[in-house]
Symmetry: C2
Subunit: 821 residues, 2 copies
């Protein structure tokens, strides 16, 4: 294996010296790394007209509800009564879009546009309208004056069009409401799409976020043979809401070094003069596309993957470009004041309304739109056609090109269980065999993502089918179990944000995947998961969007086995975050053993448009259900385990319930203790796999009806419920249930330390002894027998505690425990 990858090239060929001297606040004639002039005068004129038509539309969207083509003098009555929208980054984005149109036509490219800067949707929406897609998708926004009027009016209007590239936006798979994920989404979309180029606008504000800052390193995980390319355009717009951006205020050399350091080849296009900028951008973008094709050809012809220093563009244009430089005495273009509505005073000040009108007319709408209000044919010709239009790229409607997974029969991977609670096995390691074959059967369609934990999480069996993608340097040691490969199916970087972003991009562009992570650190991506839930929920309301695969999050290294790593590694609260999202899109499963895990994962991998969260420990565990029992149990999602119960269908004295594998293990041990010490007790044992079974059927499609819930938990029998996560999640899910107050829920309550598993459980009251004692304390009729059993149990607990304290590990008997009946 090569010790060093060939270095493609490390600096732009024609670095203009001027660039280094460019005062970073001064705009004017373009200066750029590539100084050719590929456009004819006629091309410049047409592209400028198209650009102006788009800029005109951006203003129309912000201001107008009537008179969309300014065929009458502008009056207050034409203006929206509440002005909303963002002007700041529109010009730079639209400018880039239009330049890519030229190259798509010239080279028949397959390009996806990813809009990173916040609130830049007018650029995307206006181009979608100009190339006809918006009207095809939303016929009432027709390509005529009335259609244009509606398009303007309903932008940022109740029930209307959002100011981000929301799911309603044709051609979008990246909303950008929360900033920071444009690059990782783009990479996700191009993995295994070898001909796709993701033209990705990256905001300079967005660039300050952590997730974006690390996502530039995604280029070490992209294979030039099997994957497409990401072409980032860092939009040095200069300002955020009220502040300059960091990257726009460091010197030129620093900025160039930064991106060379990230492994890219930055090409600069800087200025504000539209005609010269047209030439500069045309030349530079074409160079970048050509470079991309060359690298791909080199790798594909030779069959030897390498890591090119892929091209990227730094586009420095003033914020609010093409707008007025000053309004009254205040800077506007090239300052943060251009961020949102540029002249909000139009509603109150007639002279400002005049100013707006003049500005809008400067884009010459009457020249670009014909009598009917449609873009003139000469300009229409500038856009590509059909699915080559970026706003119609099917990749952005990933469900439409999705192929189903070819899944092996999960039952073939079953763990043999003849009697529940007797044999030990590693559920996760066993599942890894199934997962390996899922990988093997879907080598261009399914990937596994994780922040350097796949092996630690006992899933390394999947490397037999697909190794870890690695385009960094290789060392000799890597042969000794490194499991790295240029082409692989496992994606690992120590950034939960990047992993999640890649997976989201991969799924939204029509493929399948799974993220595995330590449970405590999944909170790092709370907000990303929230946003993804919102995306797929809204997408359900959009008729033309096809369903995508579910986003599967497998959590392991769970709280109850994070004893030795201590308090910082203990947090099962991700479930609370997920449970807040819409019931239409979230599902939470806690399979208690290996066969239930297989059945659950098979179900999740087949499902559509959900976020599935699956919690399962990676250590060895007692196994409870045979495959047949597991399928039955998981398809119900909740059930009474008859084999562990002795209530024989009568009303029990106590219900022992559990949700989560370690929790089930302890609850069942508690049940065994109770049945041993108090054999006359009638105990019902209940297990929950599908957490939303607990909630009322009116609140969640999986919820149990009242009579179903009663048939399991009764209305009046006390229930000791051992829960994997924070106990109050069960309280809130069962709110309103009759008999809710009979639930005594035990779970994690922020009581941790350096511990053994047993110690940690005792500290939180979730160990077998505490649970059994809870049960005794909640059955008032037990009397002396209860007190005596209670004392026995307490002594056993103390003995176990002492052992752990002296030896630094749990006593053997707690580890070798088996179900005795």
């Amino acid at each position: 294996m090569d010790a060093m990858l060939p270095l493609a090239h490390s600096a732009p060929e024609k670095a203009t010296e001027d660039l280094e001297k460019l005062s970073i606040s001064a705009f004017g004639n373009a200066r750029s790394s590539i100084t050719e002039h590929p456009l004819s005068a006629d091309e410049v004129r047409k592209m400028t007209d198209y650009f102006h038509a788009s800029m005109y539309m951006c203003l129309g969207m912000i201001y107008l509800r009537r008179n969309p083509l300014l065929r009458e003098p502008l009056t207050l009555d034409h203006v929206k009564r509440r002005l909303l929208g963002h002007w700041g980054s529109d010009a730079g984005q639209s400018f880039t879009w239009i330049h890519m149109n030229r190259l798509i036509k010239k080279y028949d490219l397959d390009v996806l546009f990813v809009s990173g800067p916040g609130h830049g949707a007018p650029a995307v929406l206006s181009n979608s309208y100009l190339e006809g897609v918006y009207s095809e998708v939303y016929p009432e926004k027709s390509q005529d004056e009335e259609g244009l009027r509606r398009f303007f009016k309903y932008f940022s209007f109740p029930g209307g069009i959002g100011s981000h590239a929301t799911p309603e936006t044709p051609g979008s798979l990246h909303e950008g409401g929360e900033l920071g994920y444009s690059i990782s989404h783009a990479f996700g979309a191009v993995f295994d799409h070898p001909n796709l180029i993701a033209l990705t606008m990256v905001g300079d504000g967005e660039s300050e976020t952590g997730p974006l800052a690390t996502s530039w390193h995604s280029n070490k995980f992209l294979n030039p043979i099997t994957d497409g390319a990401v072409l980032p355009v860092l939009h040095l717009n200069g300002y955020k809401i009220n502040n300059p951006t960091v990257l726009a205020r460091i010197d030129h050399k620093e900025l160039e070094n930064l991106f060379l350091g990230y492994g890219w080849t930055p090409y600069f296009v800087e200025g504000s003069d539209v005609p010269t900028m047209m030439q500069a951008m045309a030349a530079t973008l074409e160079t970048c596309v050509t470079k991309i094709r060359e690298y791909q050809k080199e790798a594909r012809d030779s069959g030897k993957p390498f890591r090119p220093r892929w091209p990227m563009i730094v586009l420095r244009t003033p914020k609010g470009w093409t707008g007025p430089r000053k309004i009254d005495d205040h800077f506007q273009e090239g300052f943060w004041r251009a961020h949102q509505v540029p002249i909000p005073e139009v509603l109150k000040d007639r002279s400002k309304l005049k100013e707006l009108e003049k500005w809008m007319r400067s884009y010459e709408p009457e020249k670009h739109f014909d009598e009917s209000g449609r873009l003139i044919p000469e300009l229409q010709e500038l856009a590509p056609t059909g699915t080559r239009r970026m706003s119609a790229n099917p990749v952005a409607n990933g469900g439409s090109i999705r192929r189903k997974l070819n899944l092996p029969d999960f039952r073939d991977y079953a763990v043999e269980v003849r009697t529940g609670g007797v044999t030990n096995s590693g559920s996760m390691a066993n599942f890894a065999g199934f997962l390996r074959d899922v990988v093997k059967n879907n080598m261009d369609n399914f990937r596994v993502f994780g922040p350097d934990e796949t092996e630690s999480n006992k899933l390394s069996k999947i490397y037999e089918a697909g190794k870890k993608v690695w385009l960094g340097e290789y060392f000799d040691e890597d042969e000794d179990g490194g499991n790295l490969a240029y082409a692989g199916r496992v994606m690992e970087i120590l950034s939960e944000h990047t992993c999640e972003g890649w997976l989201e991009g991969y799924v939204l562009s029509g493929r399948h995947g799974m993220l595995n992570s330590y449970e405590p650190f999944i909170h790092i991506i709370d907000s990303m998961v929230n946003q993804h839930c919102k995306w797929i929920e809204k997408a359900l309301e959009v008729e033309w969007r096809h369903k995508v695969s579910s986003l599967n999050i497998l959590l392991t290294s769970t709280v109850w086995r994070q004893d030795h790593n201590g308090f910082t590694h203990q947090d099962p609260g991700f479930l609370d975050v997920v449970a807040n999202k819409s019931p239409e899109v979230v599902r939470i499963y806690l399979p208690p053993d290996a066969n239930c895990l297989l059945s659950t994962m098979d179900h999740c991998l087949r499902s559509e448009n959900y976020v599935n969260v699956i919690v399962a420990d990676k250590q060895e565990h007692l196994q409870f259900l045979s495959m047949e029992q597991a399928i039955d149990h998981c398809s119900k999602g909740i059930g009474i385990w008859e084999w562990a119960s002795n209530d024989k269908g009568e009303e029990p004295d106590i219900v022992m319930a559990s949700c989560g594998d370690v929790s089930t293990h302890e609850a069942l041990a508690a049940t065994a203790l109770l049945r041993t010490h108090l054999p006359e007790l009638k105990i019902r044992f209940v297990n929950v796999v599908d957490l939303f079974k607990l909630i009322d059927e009116k609140e969640h499609p999986h919820g149990l009806a009242a009579h179903e819930y009663k048939a399991i938990f009764t209305d009046n029998v006390p229930c000791i419920f051992n829960f994997h996560s924070y106990p109050w999640l069960v309280h809130r899910l069962t709110y309103g249930r009759k008999g809710q107050q009979n639930l005594l829920v035990r779970g994690y309550k922020e009581k941790g330390n350096i511990d053994t598993p047993l110690e940690l459980a005792i500290r939180n009251g979730t160990d077998r002894y505490s649970l059994a004692i809870d049960a005794i304390d909640n059955i008032p009729t037990l009397g002396n027998k209860g007190s005596s059993a209670r004392e026995t149990l307490r002594n056993e607990q103390i003995r176990a505690k002492n052992y752990a304290f002296h030896e630094g590990m749990d006593p053997k008997e707690t580890e070798d425990w088996v179900w005795p009946f």
Copy 2:
């Protein structure tokens, strides 16, 4: 103002050419940017001995429970029965610590050590022990053989010492359980500590996280006159748990460019040969410290702040350095297998035990520890003394050096309220006046942090006292309301992670501060806040730790005013995350108006060791309480608003309750509607400021006793509770309360769109009409009167909806609403 800051210098002076050619996997003799040999042979010998003593201890901590100095041949009985701990990054960290010791002594430096790499505590702990601090703090871990034995045994042992730099670790303010925050914590600690140097070990795994990747840009926010310096040592250890690190597998030039691009001057120290590495590190570290002092002197002597390209070190040593290169046929040193316990087989394999013994003896413990088991005096002398010891730096026990805030009297900022619910005012803009004076009174002791939202959040008045710190370039436009300054009190970067990290570092090192953020995006730092909560909770258990200031998070731009920004900007669920943390450390306040906000913030700024979350809208609102009433209400945290109630102390027909300002506004409007349309109804109006009042007193120190709760909510009267956040949080907090089932809670339920505020509320059932109708539906005795009022209200609601739909804004009457009684 200077348009360009002077560039300090952009490349190391003596870049050794060899460096670029260094095969990045090959180790051996040191190669470094600085090639001087400042150490005498004797110094090298002593420092190597000290280093070996520390390495010996790291192994002792992982393996031994008896025979700590190997005075007997090692047997299985001496070894812990459960082997836990991490060896991988210990050597590099300890090596760096020891080198800094030399310079602290030579230059009398004030240095804080921040340990970024995961599980690197043995390096920190062993050094703390060697320099005597550990025994001073924990006398039972005395500086003798028995103390050493205990020290070893209790590492990663139940109830013992953690493998991160936990709160129990002297000299630590950064635990590093979750990775990514070492640099931002370090910057937080040195702000306003002009003489402090934070020597910050950054793991190369950690470096892949988003938060770390962006935090390098903190150097644009550090003032060389008023702040200290951060000296990062990027520890290119090469591996994470099971993967190589990205930064260790890119070529040398890329790595150098990356850090030049981040604005640092990287100095390289690379190799594994201890004697030559000793010289290289001594020379390089000294150069860095000298550079730091030069830059500081230049700025301080001239009074002109500038942005130096601060020095940093890239330290490339093999993972598990000084351990065996191979064990059996598998790579160990310089590979990921050295991450955790290097030879776990010692428990089962006698030959492996021999191998371990040989390795441990190679560090020659008998040479470094005297008869009693104490480090020999010759080596003791290498460490600094007193508080100059990094493990005794008082900054790491920030509470011990904390000065109280000098707070103005918040009552002086009161909004005049003669009658509740009549006058409008902006609570946040009003609070900004108080905050400005807090800044003014505490110019070296208090900072405000935020991700580019301080102005948007209506807090810009604070710029009158302290502007936004900015060490990037300045443009002419900045004079036009840019509010930037070299020295300021407001810290803004578009990275919630960096803001939170800075604030945590600032507070933990003994100062005070506040973060302001949009509510929806605070989820980005869920995990950081979780970790901070865990830190301060554990710190409470550590006797020698003094209390620090609370970490205050002010959330605004809240869900109910994120109508126009749409669904992605709507998420009030941070409260659920916080409510999961220990009741000892979390507090949640939702002040309903301006005077309550003042009273709440005053309380929060005075408080200690909490995470306070305060939720308040930034728009204009009706004001309800006079300052006197507000103080009374906030000190109770919950109360009946007599002026809005007409139950006159009798049992009401309905309780109308609210928590949150917009929610209160609507609940009160609903109450007015009910009283207007159904004047015979007896209504009690309740408001909650302190959310934890709802929980039982046994669960949280702020919780109400049962009789107190009953006195407000009754046991049996229906209550319509309008809540700011997701409704089920109220259900879980009131779990177990008598009468809990009478609560009908309305709140946000993931129903959003592009809306007006009224529309958004109607969609979620939290508007005045829906609430009033809910009340009617829950009073069975109303009969026909109820039906008729219900119909009237429904018609009013439809009229308002239609207006919003047609005009794109809410009808005036809903905005101009006043309390009519």
